[in-house]
Symmetry: C2
Subunit: 311 residues, 2 copies
């Protein structure tokens, strides 16, 4: 197979585009896709300061690299989740990238700064681990972007992620979640602007980008996520994509083009009734503390109980 662009031997095939690419043209293809996503959806304006949510995995490090390549001013923020055997090496990949590129990395540590890890927080708050983790990450990333006065918070959600989340939302016809599933959520109501510049790249592409660009990343999947529903939706879409390449991209872009407007009104309603949490100031619809503050409180309460039992 030859590179679609320069006719040199290809090193990767992207079936969805029915195209092969050599190393240089593939890296350019990834930059082009990110540039196009940013432009099409008005994600980042010229001169704006960007904060990238960094996990140490392929997507967030590829995103950080691509945004730097495209000339943006980009810092990273890493959250230590206290997941044994997984969080420490993940942090090392984030720090390694930061050091190598002379890019600033903010760090927050769930156990040190909030007194719990994903496992204990989930147990104390009667959530599955992925729910406690997602809640914590959304809260902390949003705060970091606002407190650092960044113009925009960028996350590494790729096409596979977005298609799988959309499938889950559609299987439940959760119209409020569908309405919020956009590549750009504007700032306001106490939230920073949030953007997903990788929505035009699949996870095979972000992994290949890292390999071909020489970026070292956490290859392991999170051990807490094994068997979760999201991965089930990914498997289902992968099986369909295998028979009909392009299905995922058509599903996601068709949603944005034709269906998002139909559910948009429901999304407007879902931001109604927001007010600052009396605990942390983050926007919430809860009558007292926000969900993250409740998680912190319950994890602390659980810890106290455990300590008093051991006394």
């Amino acid at each position: 197979m030859k590179c679609k662009v320069c006719r040199q031997p290809a090193v990767i095939e992207v079936r969805r585009h029915n195209a092969g690419f050599c190393q240089g043209c593939f890296l350019a293809h990834c930059r082009n896709q990110v540039e196009r996503a940013i432009k099409d959806h008005g994600m980042i304006g010229p001169g704006e300061r960007v904060l990238v949510a960094v996990s140490g995995g392929k997507d967030s490090l590829a995103l950080w690299d691509l945004l730097l390549q495209l000339g943006y001013e980009v810092d990273g923020v890493y959250i230590g989740l206290g997941i044994q055997g997984y969080s420490d090496p993940s942090a090392e990949f984030a720090r390694g990238f930061s050091a190598e590129h002379g890019a600033k990395l903010l760090e927050v540590d769930l156990p040190d700064d909030f007194g719990f890890d994903v496992r204990s927080g989930a147990a104390a708050d009667h959530r599955v681990p992925c729910s406690a983790c997602g809640l914590s990450k959304r809260h902390i990333f949003d705060r970091a972007a606002l407190e650092g006065s960044y113009d925009v918070l960028a996350t590494g959600h790729n096409l596979d992620d977005e298609a799988a989340v959309l499938l889950g939302n559609v299987l439940r016809w959760d119209l409020a979640y569908m309405a919020r599933q956009r590549p750009v959520l504007p700032a306001g109501d106490g939230f920073p602007r949030k953007v997903k510049p990788l929505v035009r790249l699949g996870e095979r592409e972000t992994a290949a980008y890292c390999v071909l660009q020489g970026i070292e990343y956490q290859v392991e999947e999170c051990p807490m996520a094994t068997g979760n529903r999201h991965l089930g939706y990914k498997d289902a879409l992968n099986a369909i994509e295998e028979r009909s390449p392009g299905t995922k991209a058509a599903f996601y872009s068709g949603f944005l083009d034709r269906a998002a407007a139909l559910v948009a009104e429901v999304g407007e309603q879902s931001r109604e009734g927001l007010h600052p949490c009396p605990g942390c100031g983050a926007p919430t619809t809860a009558t007292e503390l926000c969900a993250f503050c409740r998680l912190v409180d319950r994890a602390a309460e659980q810890k106290r109980r455990r300590l008093s039992l051991n006394r």
Copy 2:
């Protein structure tokens, strides 16, 4: 496991309902589900004459039986599709049910009455076989219902079918198809009323209904359908259902409850511009002959060419 209703030993488990049933209570469960679908969606009024589209498979024969059990006046219509090794035995199951229940069966034969079978029609019209088959069945079933002055045409689409079709429509965000995917399509514009009374039963249930009710049916899948997209969507949904029983039912009923209204307007538009086909009188938006008449013409043209080549 015990029967949820009478506590006798269960013969079947329905995971979606988290329930087991004995033979008698399962048959009653199926009748109840069909009765509820008919009532909830206003499918069939008292005293109305029903025509069931019969393939000889589990769904259509279970439907015919269930509607008779519920006291409706129901004839069947069978289409011989000319599929070698498959159509003849299918017809025998349809005729067997008809004879055993003293119920009238209309028969139409694609090769005898229209001069082509699914394979040759598909080739002549440059369609995949399932497309030529579906087009022919919709056309002929609609005609049979109107010409026989039936009040309603009932088809054996079950929950698995509807969920898989919905998934396909959603993956393409084909809003016009989504708008028409309702359990009842009202009569008008040259179409009979069309209803799907099995939408509350999965295909495992319709198969079990036939077995427990002693109905003999065509067990083989259509050999022309192997590997088609629809079966791929079914596989994907089955994998998700296996992890989360009830997903398919929630997907389909959630669509009807929350999303169908959002796309309904698109459906209204799709019936605009219909006029009678100059060939057969069936409603069409085509400028000249309807798609079925074109299929018939192309199949005939192809046959003439083949005959002249062989001369």
